[in-house]
């Protein structure tokens, strides 16, 4: 551990390491972005996203995000066919993060 003698609030920044399994992955964030925009999406609807995620990657990410409880099935009682995914409460709570990220990108990474 490093010394903590700064003015910035360390505790609001340090948990970043724990968030890395979510935001440290490109595809996971894109899935969350899509769900923020569209509320609920099926497996094949994710595949239609412009970024062209491949099926195996999508499957592993959906599984990961489900186990992390950031997303969940819209109708858990149904079979997988035509079942959609939506954000959980903690998944929705990422919206400010994604929005501030989008704001930054629009300002500093526009072409």
């Amino acid at each position: 551990m490093k010394k903590m003698n700064e003015k910035i609030d360390w505790r609001s920044i340090c948990p970043i390491s724990s968030a890395l399994d979510v935001i440290g992955d490109k595809w996971s964030l894109l899935i969350i972005r899509d769900l923020i925009i569209h509320e609920a999406l099926t497996y094949s609807q994710f595949l239609e996203s412009p970024e062209q995620i491949s099926t195996n990657i999508l499957a592993t990410r959906l599984d990961l995000l489900t186990r992390l409880k950031l997303i969940e099935r819209v109708h858990p009682e149904l079979a997988s066919r035509n079942n959609a995914y939506k954000l959980t409460k903690s998944g929705k709570a990422l919206e400010p993060v994604i929005k501030s990220l989008g704001k930054w990108a629009g300002k500093y990474r526009s072409i």
Copy 2:
């Protein structure tokens, strides 16, 4: 360093995709976090971070972030020895993103 995936550039359309070049990578984000906290750090100081980045990864990430103009050398006129890195203006502008991410992690991901 070469581009990792040279396909159709959807990043020009979606700002989030464009931002994922930076924050879609675990180590890049940690480097930026460290620089937000410490203002300026040398190569070996990065290596002391608790996450234990390895030397080759650190070198490639510092190079990537420099080329993206998110970080820069504190004394460009000096040789690399004892030279530190700091955030550029656009790098600093990521602070709100990182803070909101930290806030989310602190609330929804137990430390």
